[in-house]
């Protein structure tokens, strides 16, 4: 049985990929992911903002108390030869490349135009197999939707000019026209689109009257939105499509493939069940394919996509009304 797939030019043994998460910060865990059966791994995101902030804090604490007292010009050894850039991340790429045979995809979250391209270059030089652009951007009220979309396109175009490795864009679902944005990005050179990004959405603690920092892992109920858009876009883009969000069991993997995804990414399932769960997902996929006699993933990918479906009306607005009516009944 053939599970192999092609994701933005990368030949993967099967379509299940470990998405960007803190799990990938550790080489031991990366090895574990490979052993457990990940077809590829996306490293956690390199945040330009975080580097800038850490550097500023580093310099502040180095200098804040220097040259203040007769007895002590400073409190730490001279700090000329300290890394102020993304060396730690680049080193992780290098070590990951050496440690595992599966493709290592870097993830970048930039702020400035310079940051996107500089770090992308360095990531390529460090040996990443591909790069995922994590365009985490919350628009300000005085910025219109067109400008926001253009920002994505500009970032991608600049990075594509700077590097030659495959580049994916992880998209927000909150565009007026996701399809249009997807097309625009593809035209700007995106090798893949990852649907979708999950923005940090804080909660409130009503006892302490505070904003609470917590992250809810995605659940199978969350797959509907990406499933819808993947099914809608399958066959209409030259770029690969990665599904991201809501995977807990092989069922979600299968659904995404049926919608037309080239790969299916998960972090929540690994955080919830452990890295070994990758094997469970893969085996579940195999078992399902065996039960139905599929020889390869290609046999059923996109089977429920809009383009493929005999009755694409299932995706239409009219169907929504039908669903609502069924509740009423």
């Amino acid at each position: 049985m053939k599970l192999d797939t092609n994701y933005m030019g990368l030949k993967l043994a099967h379509p299940i990929v470990a998405s960007a998460s803190p799990l990938s910060a550790d080489i031991g865990r990366l090895r574990h992911m490979e052993d457990a059966g990940a077809a590829a791994v996306v490293l956690f995101s390199l945040f330009e903002e975080q580097i800038e902030r850490d550097n500023a804090a580093f310099e502040h604490y180095l200098n804040a108390v220097s040259d203040s007292h007769a007895e002590s010009a400073g409190y730490l050894p001279a700090a000329d030869s300290y890394s102020m850039g993304p060396e730690g991340y680049l080193e992780l790429i290098r070590r990951a490349r050496a440690a595992v045979d599966i493709p290592v995809i870097a993830s970048l979250n930039g702020v400035s135009a310079e940051g996107w391209t500089d770090y992308a270059r360095q990531i390529e030089q460090a040996g990443a197999a591909a790069l995922e652009l994590n365009v985490y951007y919350v628009a300000s009220p005085d910025e219109d939707g067109r400008a926001v979309e253009q920002r994505y396109v500009d970032v991608l175009a600049a990075v594509k000019r700077a590097v030659s490795l495959p580049v994916a864009v992880k998209l927000s679902p909150y565009f007026s026209s996701v399809g249009h944005v997807a097309h625009a990005l593809t035209e700007a050179g995106a090798d893949a689109l990852v649907l979708f990004n999950r923005f940090y959405q804080p909660d409130f603690d009503i006892d302490r009257l505070e904003v609470a920092r917590s992250l809810e892992l995605s659940s199978p109920a969350d797959i509907r939105l990406p499933l819808t858009w993947i099914a809608a876009l399958y066959g209409r883009l030259s770029a690969s499509i990665a599904a991201s969000g809501g995977v807990d069991s092989a069922r979600e993997v299968i659904k995404y493939l049926l919608a037309g995804a080239d790969v299916v990414m998960t972090t929540a399932a690994l955080l919830r069940h452990g890295i070994g769960h990758l094997g469970v997902l893969r085996n579940g996929l195999l078992q399902w394919m065996e039960e139905r006699g599929f020889e390869s993933v290609g046999d059923f990918r996109g089977e429920l996509a809009q383009l493929t479906l005999a009755n694409p009306a299932a995706f239409d607005r009219a169907n929504y009304i039908h669903i609502l009516e069924s509740y009423r009944a």
Binding site: S68, E87, D118
Partner: protein, 1191 residues
């Protein structure tokens, strides 16, 4: 000779460069002002920089200077070229080894940044007291003047010692030379190679102990041969002056710089000559030139080889015409006929006259100057020459002070000054925290790079650790600058904080017509009216040009953050005239490009833009013709301060301590306590404001406040009738006291704004987000109200200690702190422990304080924090040394124990007169609880009262010791540098003594006071000086060591993690009648954290298992119970989550991530293993711990 390579550096670096290249082993111990020499050597070794022979020297930080000297001695005996860097008390600790090293004719150079010796008080500043103290050791002494000479003599000393086999002490003035930045001609490796003879190096090695050619040294000698043996070295000392002289000549051939053992400068037929060594020689030489240009016949002899004193060379240098000589010593030998250099010159001359080699004896005066870095100026030199003309001069004089006691001091014309007109002089007033000094160091480097310019910088700091003020003195000119004294007539004054406009001395150093730059939040046309009268008057009188910039705003708007240093530096470049304005700005931009190149083009551009933006916002202030205000700056202390504070402390606070005469200073070093309360420093723009209705009165805020600025009292509601309007109060939250009110008072003038109180406050508003019972608010709008409230608060009665629950954190807030408003860092992690100590036991407390941060914020003048209660009782405090604090405090205990015995004996002898029942009760009284102590005080007061009326001769003796009948609480306080390193042996001995002493270790895990050197408490993986690659070993477990004795009460506490446990430990330790040891986690600026996060770090230190809370109480062992109690839970947080919030750990992650990861893993393993041990101990029964036979 090639064109010289010039560089801008300070004296310590100049010396360290040479010493590093010429040695193989360097054993050191940090001590101000020499520390940076060793730190640089360690840094270079870490970087892999080789010495002259291609090997990286080994730099070893030892546990004390005694240890360093022993290591130096050993390394020398084993054949290595070895050196050390030290000063002051450190040099004194080396004394025994110095005798040995010299007695064994061993070639080495000790480089000493000469510093005062602690006598009536500690002094970190420069004089020759330390060097004079080691004169008898047999070390040759070579003295340097400025930075250039310090470098050159470092080489000459090394070359000469190898040839002479006599060890050298090369010294230069602490701070004045060690910390002065100057432009010098650098010695190149080729110079070193040419001057240091490799054959002599090989000969040195050949003398090493070697089992292949065995010999022995260090024999024990008897009366038959010891004396002769002592005399064997004479030929070596006789040959030494010639060797040094030859070396200096060879040096001159190599470099063009000529030196002699005694360098004469002045009129060839001088009548008056000053003999001096060190940096002062430059001052004398400049004054000699000035006097000779006005028909003077003056000269100066600069002594370079001070020991052995070569009479022939001295006599050859001294003009035959001389009639009178003043010999200046920068040290004091009380009771001696004169100081060492004076005696040497006198003996030399009298022997020459007696031998007939000199015709007549000139008149010789001996003078002391410059002790403890006291300024030594051309005006003082002129006064000395004037004294040499007087018919009946003071034969032993002082200069630079006003001695109205022994009348030794010379009158000095303070207006006399010598400054070349083509030298640009600038003085800057800044805060330590605003980066002024750093920016000025940068300016010196930038301007010093100009081949046509020379530069000099010297920095003055106050002794506070929070809100420290700095003064920068910069000179720039076309010739080498040899002016080792502060600028008195500056062409540019930079006032980097607007608050400094209130300083009475802001423009005291301004020359007529000078430029005054003021960083001010006020608009240029409004600034004038904001200045106090004295400043307006001085500006007009001196016709100053005033410029202003709102640097904070400019910095923020140009993306430079909060620091104003770059902004002010740009203004200086634009206004000072050191360089033409355009060239100056171009130069500063070059500097930016150089500094920030690594950080990317965007950062460079941002800084460029900030420079341009600065220039656009720099304005000249229009000046009116007359003073427009009558507002005077506030006095240094309020008018109700005690007389001593008014007359002495206030002068020192105002920066005019130099004006105080000898009679104003206590003769024996005894100073009054409780003076910090009068120095209102107003450091913070924001202060905590109390919300009474939210407050749960838990007392945590008062507990954690490092500066004792949060106080609580409860009182009868009726007292509020006299309260100022809106005086905040709340019903006391305690059952059974419905009429009592509670007030939490913030002493806003004294608050440093650290925010720890807000962080720890558990009470939150249920209605308003982010509001707690304490919230930081801008101070300016509320300060007047806060002052009135504080004034009223202080009229409320101090709560009766017998009504307060000592056993709870809540209760401690009502105990008066007898440690208040220290100069400690904002957010200090040490002082809350001391404050608690003073609250619990302050009225019967004796504190022995090891040298370190706690002795500086606890005992550095002008004002000190230990204070008294309303009865006039309070902690009695003293600092002996760094190394002996355990023994010092142990002495307190022995004296108290003995005198307690004596007082009991006398009471029994006087029982008939004093009252037998009262004496019996007194001698049998328990003294554990506060009420018991109070009753005992009353008994003792009654006994004393009766004794005073007695005619019995023993009654007077009884009165002298009767106070001992109230139990004394003896505490030995110090940091980890003391307890883990330099005082370790003494501490160990005192813990083993069984006596009732309490040891409080304020553990910051690093030498904080001297600038972050590693101690044996420094944790595995932490970066510190001398552990730049991360400390490879785990910290010493002092708790387990002490527990091993069985009879020592031991606790490990962290007030930020568990204040209740810290309180319990302190009370148990004090109650335990044997030795006690409390290890206190103290977060510190040296950790590289935001100090407002200090409490959180304490919690993480405990939660991660890095700092397990525990108590070991031998009393429980005696009762068959387990004495070991583990007070914190099993580690619940990975160690990384605690460590990687601190720069001391993340630095390594940035510099060497692989090593950091390895060390982190090892550190986690240590935590796991150690926790296992502790857990196992916590589950034993008492019989498994060592018993002790102490009663």
């Amino acid at each position: 000779m090639n064109a010289p390579l010039m560089a801008v550096l300070d004296g310590n670096e100049a010396v360290a460069r040479v010493a590093y290249q010429l040695n193989e082993v360097c054993a050191i111990y940090p001590i101000t002002p020499s520390s940076s020499m060793a730190e640089l050597a360690d840094q270079w070794a870490t970087e892999g920089r080789p010495n002259l022979w291609g090997r990286v020297p080994i730099v070893a930080e030892m546990q004390s200077e005694g240890g360093a000297a022993g290591t130096v001695h050993g390394a020398l005996q084993a054949g290595a070229l070895t050196t050390t860097f030290t000063a002051s008390q450190g040099l004194l600790l080396m004394l025994p080894n110095m005798y040995k090293i010299a007695g064994e004719l061993t070639a080495t150079v000790f480089h000493v940044a000469a510093r005062a010796i602690a006598a009536q008080g500690l002094c970190i500043f420069g004089d020759h007291g330390d060097v004079a103290a080691v004169r008898p050791t047999g070390f040759a002494q070579l003295a340097s003047g400025g930075v250039q000479e310090a470098q050159d003599m470092a080489l000459i000393a090394q070359a000469a010692t190898l040839a002479a086999r006599v060890p050298f002490l090369h010294f230069f003035d602490g701070f004045r030379t060690s910390h002065e930045i100057n432009k010098i001609e650098l010695l190149q490796p080729s110079h070193l190679r040419a001057l240091v003879d490799d054959a002599l190096v090989r000969a040195h090695r050949a003398r090493a102990l070697n089992p292949d050619q065995p010999s022995m040294r260090g024999t024990a000698q008897n009366p038959d041969v010891y004396f002769q043996g002592r005399e064997t070295v004479n030929p070596y000392y006789a040959a030494l002056p010639g060797i040094v002289s030859d070396t200096m000549q060879r040096f001159a051939q190599l470099t063009g710089r000529r030196y002699a053992l005694f360098d004469y400068h002045g009129h060839p037929d001088a009548k008056q000559v000053i003999v001096v060594m060190g940096s002062a020689a430059d001052t004398v030489a400049a004054t000699v030139d000035w006097l000779n240009a006005r028909d003077g016949r003056c000269g100066v002899i600069q002594v370079r080889l001070a020991l052995p004193f070569s009479a022939p060379h001295f006599l050859a240098a001294l003009p035959q015409s001389v009639q009178s000589i003043a010999v200046l010593d920068r040290c004091k030998e009380p009771g001696a006929q004169g100081e060492p250099l004076y005696r040497d010159v006198l003996i030399c001359l009298s022997e020459a006259v007696a031998a007939g080699t000199r015709e007549r004896m000139p008149r010789v005066l001996g003078g002391r100057y410059g002790l403890g870095s006291k300024e030594f100026t051309p005006a003082m030199v002129r006064a000395i020459f004037a004294e040499l003309h007087v018919a009946q001069p003071r034969r032993h004089f002082t200069v630079g002070i006003r001695d109205d006691v022994a009348q030794t001091s010379l009158p000095v014309d303070e207006n006399f000054d010598l400054e070349a007109p083509d030298v640009v002089r600038a003085v800057f007033f800044g805060l330590g925290a605003d980066g002024t000094v750093g920016a000025n160091k940068n300016s010196i480097k930038i301007i010093g790079e100009d081949p046509a310019l020379h530069a000099q910088a010297y920095f003055v700091y106050d002794s506070k650790k929070s809100g420290s003020q700095t003064e920068s003195h910069l000179r720039f000119g076309p010739r080498p600058i040899r002016a080792p004294y502060l600028i008195r007539q500056a062409g540019f004054i930079g006032c980097h904080q607007f608050a400094f406009c209130e300083r009475p001395d802001l423009t005291a150093r301004a020359a007529p017509g000078a430029t005054l730059l003021i960083n001010s939040p006020h608009a240029p046309d409004q600034l004038w009216d904001e200045l106090p009268r004295h400043l307006q008057a001085d500006i007009l009188a001196k016709r100053l040009r005033v410029y202003t910039i709102d640097a904070a705003r400019v910095a923020t708007e140009s993306g430079m953050g909060r620091r104003v240093n770059t902004i002010m530096q740009t203004c200086f470049f634009a206004l000072s005239g050191v360089l033409p304005r355009e060239a100056a700005i171009a130069r500063i931009k070059d500097g930016i490009a150089h500094s920030y190149a690594k950080k990317g083009e965007a950062v460079v551009k941002r800084n460029y833009a900030a420079v341009d933006y600065t220039l656009e916002h720099l304005f000249e202030v229009p000046l009116p013709a007359a003073v427009s205000t009558q507002r005077e700056a506030a006095p240094a202390v309020p008018p109700n301060a005690p007389p001593f504070v008014q007359k002495i402390s206030a002068i020192m606070i105002a920066g005019r301590g130099d004006e105080l005469p000898v009679s104003a200073i206590p003769a024996d070093g005894t100073w009054p306590t409780g003076t910090s309360v009068w120095e209102k420093r107003n450091l913070s723009d924001s202060v905590p404001v109390w919300e009474p209705e939210l407050c749960i009165q838990c007392g945590r805020c008062a507990f954690v406040c490092p500066h004792s600025v949060i106080r609580a009292r409860f009182y009868e509601a009726g007292r509020l009738f006299q309260a100022p309007p809106e005086f905040p109060s709340a019903p006391l939250s305690a059952r059974g006291f419905p009429d009592l009110r509670y007030t939490l008072q913030v002493y806003a003038d004294d608050c440093t704004g650290c925010g720890l109180c807000v962080t720890t406050c558990p009470a939150r508003s249920l209605r308003k987000a982010g509001v707690r019972a304490l919230n930081m608010r801008p101070k300016a709008p509320l300060i007047q109200k806060a002052r009135a409230e504080r004034e009223f608060f202080e009229t409320l009665p101090v709560n009766d200690r017998s009504r307060v629950d000592f056993s709870s954190v809540r209760g401690t807030q009502f105990l008066q702190p007898l440690f208040e408003f220290p100069g400690a860092c904002s957010g200090c992690g040490e002082t809350p422990y001391l404050k608690l100590l003073s609250q619990l036991f302050g009225d019967r407390l004796l504190v022995a304080n090891a040298t370190g941060c706690s002795s500086i914020y606890g005992g550095n003048l002008p004002t000190t924090p230990w204070t008294t209660n309303h009865e006039g009782r309070g902690p009695a405090w003293s600092n002996s040394l760094f190394e002996d604090n355990a023994e010092f405090g142990y002495g307190f205990r022995l004296a108290a124990d003995h005198q307690l015995g004596l007082s009991r004996q006398l009471a029994e002898q006087l029982a008939g007169e004093l009252g037998a029942e009262l004496v019996r009760e007194t001698l049998a009284a328990p003294q554990q609880t506060e009420s018991e102590l109070r009753t005992q005080r009353a008994r003792v007061a009654q006994l004393k009262c009766t004794a005073r009326a007695s005619q019995n001769a023993l009654a007077a003796d009884f009165l002298a010791v009767a106070d001992q009948l109230v139990r004394r609480s003896v505490w030995l306080v110090g940091g980890d540098g003391w307890a883990y390193d330099i005082g370790s042996a003494g501490l160990d001995h005192v813990l083993a003594s069984g006596r009732d002493v309490n040891v409080l270790v304020l553990d910051t895990e690093v030498y904080s006071n001297t600038g972050g050197q590693a101690s044996k408490s420094t944790p595995l993986g932490a970066v510190a000086k001398f552990a730049a690659g991360g400390k490879p070993l785990a910290k010493k477990d002092l708790a387990l060591q002490a527990i091993a004795y069985g009879n020592v009460y031991v606790a490990r506490v962290a007030f930020g993690a568990n204040p209740q446990q810290a309180l319990l430990a302190m009370r148990e330790a004090e109650a335990y009648p044997g030795p006690s040891l409390i290890l206190c986690y103290s977060h510190c600026i040296a950790h590289g954290i935001d100090m407002k996060d200090g409490l959180e770090q304490q919690q993480l230190a405990v939660k991660s298992g890095h700092w397990p809370l525990m108590r070991f109480n031998p009393w429980l062992r005696k009762r068959g119970m387990n004495p070991f109690a583990l007070d914190s839970l099993r580690p619940s947080v990975p160690l990384k989550d605690y460590l990687y919030r601190e720069l001391r750990y993340t630095m390594l992650a940035r510099s060497n991530p692989t090593s950091a990861a390895r060390m982190l893993a090892a550190a986690q393993e240590v935590v796991n293993q150690k926790w296992g041990v502790y857990e196992q101990m916590a589950t034993r029964d008492g019989s498994q711990f060592s018993p002790d036979a102490a009663s």
